[in-house]
Symmetry: C2
Subunit: 213 residues, 2 copies
């Protein structure tokens, strides 16, 4: 999509946070926000905020600040989330089934269009009676077929640690573009399949370190 010079990774990380901030301000009917306001909400330095945006153009109005709606649109465009992304969830345990009905994904154009498990029958009981059936749970053998048929680009995986790499390999084989790994096990990707890990305990570890020191 858009081609930007050389954007710090740290800036990209913060953009998500700014976006959440914009959504929040919009819900409060704020029309404009200064870098100082945004910085305060996001717990960063105001100069940082301005510099981050300046990488992508001149979005602000001197003397005024940033237009909330515009900025939100800009950030979405920069991140590439101004369109729908089709996602599969693999591993429908407790965490996986919570993700299937996670409302925030939908709000942001992240659409879960398939779910897979080794024991689909066992899963049915777990989620259907509570939240209806958001998507049909398929056997993992159908992964490749369905990923291709449904144009799925991202796989969110929540398998037991021992299965994590196997599942990742199956996704790679199915020509997935990116994997978001919730399983606390090291996973490796090949080709140019992008990987992000989301470890709950790491967030706690980090918190605890700063509580202890």
């Amino acid at each position: 999509m858009a081609k930007f010079p050389k954007i710090p990774e740290a800036t990209i990380r913060r953009l998500s946070s700014y976006l959440k901030c914009m959504v929040d301000l919009e819900s409060k009917n704020e029309k404009v926000a200064s870098s100082a306001v945004i910085a305060n909400i996001c717990n960063v330095n105001a100069a940082q905020v301005r510099k981050d945006f300046a990488y992508f153009g001149e979005f602000g109005i001197r003397g005024m600040g940033y237009n909330v709606k515009d900025l939100k649109r800009h950030i979405k465009e920069i991140l590439g989330i101004n369109r729908e992304w089709r996602i599969a969830v693999i591993g429908v345990g407790n965490m996986g089934s919570a993700l299937l009905v996670y409302k925030d994904f939908l709000k942001q154009n992240y659409k879960i269009v398939a779910a897979f498990d080794l024991y689909p029958e066992a899963v049915i009981g777990r989620i259907s009676e509570r939240v209806g059936k958001p998507v049909e749970i398929l056997h993992i053998d159908r992964l490749k077929e369905v990923v291709q048929a449904r144009n799925i680009e991202i796989g969110i995986i929540t398998p037991p640690p021992t299965e994590a790499q196997k599942v990742a390999d199956q996704l790679i084989e199915a020509n997935i573009k990116g994997i978001l790994n919730f399983s606390p096990a090291p996973v490796r990707t090949t080709g140019n399949v992008k990987l992000r890990n989301l470890f709950f305990t790491s967030a706690l570890d980090n918190l605890v370190y700063y509580l202890s020191n």
Copy 2:
């Protein structure tokens, strides 16, 4: 606890990742691991690995590598997770109830000793028939009382965005030490209550940016 000179934040983040790596290697009965092996698993530079550990002492053996068990113990000690941390979960929706039975917390000495919700009765149906009752679900009005009675130091919050700040304030009022926020809403803490956010969509946003660019 331990007093170290000045450790980069980035190093602290990686320590969690190294720890997972050690757990994995241990489960595979590996006794020692070189910085190169660790680096490979954790997707970082080998020099980085050595430097990270060197901040805290000389844990390795030249010519050999690092003893897996020892290193694991050292990392836990550095992070402060060589003891039990008592945690409360506030907001027992789909995500909250998944967290209540999340096995990885237990493995790492993170113990959820209380759960709170605005509608405890409504929650019972949701989780009890599936996974038993890991902890009793209490009304949020009892937060302060129970946090103090049970020596709870950390609160994990998963409320609807509109309630996030209110819940955080109640925890602060209850003298909590740290908050891990799963709710996609800006939350602020006062005093020296530490806050970490864990946003699912941010992980996806990041992935998508690098898929698009």
